[in-house]
């Protein structure tokens, strides 16, 4: 009973709020005669979105694929380096300045450099940018996770004369999974954002970023917003999938 009540509140309340905001937005645009280049109404954006659904879909697929490739590569590299750094702490100390530097520079600023390296006709540069953006949170969170293993569990594995691989599989990895997935969840949004922003700096056309800029530069503001809506949806899909994975792997854990 209570469960139904809370889930109804969790689903219905935000839905009602969303509808109310959209209605107010539409009302404001009509009543105050706001020009489309300032802010088009939701009806116009929806019209463009569904009218160009094929184009939005193709653009989302291009950007989404770049983000996915970056996410997978960055995540693998992040977990791998975190494993090495956990085994040899000296590696962590040596790489700390580099990781700090990577964490503070805006990765997309590298886009023009990478475009000249890999050619403006290839998607490689965008995938690399997404991968670098993903690497940092995955690496930092995984490393933190690997250090969360409880001493009693570590001693238990020592007492059982367990091999390194057995210890990793039975204790280290399960202990650090929640941390790795926190990193992945942050990284999933970063992957989409980085892949999309990287398109602003050049490279082949067809992705969401390029579509937004070209629609805006041809004064088709409602269409630009339709692509923005597409970007939001791609970001949401990435976030939801990683969140779902996180919930799945931690289903047998006490909620912190």
């Amino acid at each position: 009973m209570r469960l139904h009540f809370t889930s109804a509140r969790m689903v219905v309340a935000p839905l009602l709020l969303g509808i109310a905001v959209l209605a107010l937005w539409q009302l404001a645009v009509v009543a105050l005669e706001i020009k489309p280049f300032v802010l088009p109404g939701p009806a116009a954006i929806a019209d463009q979105f569904f009218g160009n659904i094929d184009n939005v879909w193709t653009a989302s697929a291009v950007t989404g694929w770049n983000a996915l490739v970056g996410l997978v590569l960055g995540a693998i590299a992040g977990v791998l380096f975190a494993t090495l750094a956990a085994v040899w702490p000296v590696l962590d100390e040596l790489s700390a300045p580099i990781v700090a530097a990577l964490a503070v520079i805006p990765i997309v600023a590298l886009a023009p450099v990478l475009y000249t390296m890999y050619g403006a006709g290839a998607e490689t540069a965008r995938q690399i940018i997404a991968a670098i953006a993903v690497f940092i949170p995955v690496y930092l969170n995984s490393l933190r996770g690997f250090r969360q293993v409880r001493p009693v569990h570590r001693e238990l594995m020592h007492v059982y004369a367990a091999s390194g691989i057995q210890t990793a599989r039975n204790v280290t990895l399960p202990s650090s999974l929640p941390f790795i997935f926190t990193g992945l969840r942050i990284a999933s949004s970063l992957a989409v954002i980085s892949a999309l922003i990287a398109e602003y700096f050049g490279g082949p056309v067809g992705g969401l970023g390029k579509s937004i800029t070209s629609a805006a530069s041809s004064s088709n503001y409602s269409l630009a917003w339709a692509y923005v809506l597409g970007s939001i949806l791609v970001g949401l899909v990435f976030y939801s999938i990683t969140l779902g994975l996180e919930k799945f792997v931690s289903r047998h854990r006490p909620t912190p």
Binding site: R150, V152, H153, E155, L156, H158, V159, Y160, A161, A162, Q166, N170, V171, P174, H252, R253, P254
Partner: protein
């Protein structure tokens, strides 16, 4: 799984500690002598408690026997082997103050963990864990997760896990330390029963005088700074069949408690609050 019948004929000791010292050197601080020339032997099937105030080195001694730490001087033999060899051969089971269960594994999977690590087949694992769940009275909880269990139940799972490979030696570091008094006494009764059934030797670290007296064949009283054995007191409360709940009201039990307390405090016991827990 049958009991290991690998007791060496040449050496009748379960544990033999000879002249063991352990000095902890911490940077920029004077070294701490946790143990100083400690000698102790534990016979197969014998229950020995280590008792003493904090810092007397009782946990350190247990960790040395378990090969979780190495002595600065002296030797430790477990069933005639080095502590390291005994650990690798899995000659002992261990239970810590924290149950230390893996929260992502079911109770049954936790008990099966050591068997799984040592490549015991699925069917054998299953039958052994069923047996152990019954032994610790958790037959209906095999599919539960540790966080669904009370502290006492978790500790029982940890004991079942320690017994999984039928060790001839059980090392226990204050396993009931975090439990309430009632649960604690019930767990002590169960431990007596389990030990009678498995015939394992036990080295048991505790803070509690009544607990040490109730469980042990011998109580080793230790003193701190540096950690030394002050005295070894034999306790004669009879075999496991006699050692039921009523023994806690028995004169022999109170005598044992007084003797351990006198040895701990170094003065005769004058108080009339006999049997009161002075942990």
């Amino acid at each position: 799984m049958t009991r290991k019948d690998s007791l060496p004929v040449t050496d009748a000791h379960a544990v033999k500690v000879t002249g063991v010292s352990r000095i902890f050197s911490i940077k920029k601080k004077p070294p701490v002598t946790a143990l100083e020339s400690v000698d102790l032997t534990v016979a197969p099937g014998e229950f020995v408690s280590l008792i003493g105030p904090s810092g007397c080195g009782k946990s350190t001694l247990l960790r040395l026997i378990a090969d979780l730490d190495q002595p600065t001087a002296g030797t430790i033999e477990v069933f005639g082997k080095t502590a390291r060899k005994a650990r690798i051969d899995q000659d002992y089971g261990i239970a810590f103050q924290q149950a230390g269960l893996l929260p992502w594994r079911t109770v049954r999977a936790n008990i099966e963990l050591p068997l799984e690590l040592h490549k015991v087949g699925t069917a054998e694992r299953r039958s052994r864990s069923t047996e152990l769940l019954e032994l610790v009275g958790l037959g209906d909880f095999g599919d539960s997760y540790p966080d669904q269990l009370s502290g006492g139940m978790q500790q029982r799972v940890a004991i079942a896990r320690a017994l999984a490979e039928s060790p001839n030696l059980l090392l226990m570091d204050e396993p009931f330390g975090a439990l309430d008094e009632m649960t604690r006494e019930r767990m002590q009764n169960e431990l007596i029963r389990i030990c009678a059934e498995t015939r394992a030797a036990v080295v048991f670290v505790t803070h509690s005088i009544p607990e040490a007296v109730f469980l042990s064949d011998r109580v080793v009283v230790m003193s701190p700074r540096p950690g030394r054995i002050r005295s070894v007191l034999p306790i004669r409360l009879g075999g496991p069949d006699d050692r039921s709940e009523h023994i806690r009201e028995d004169a022999a039990f109170f005598d044992g408690v007084s003797a351990v307390r006198e040895s701990l405090h170094g003065t005769p016991d004058t108080g009339n609050a006999r049997g009161v827990d002075t942990r």
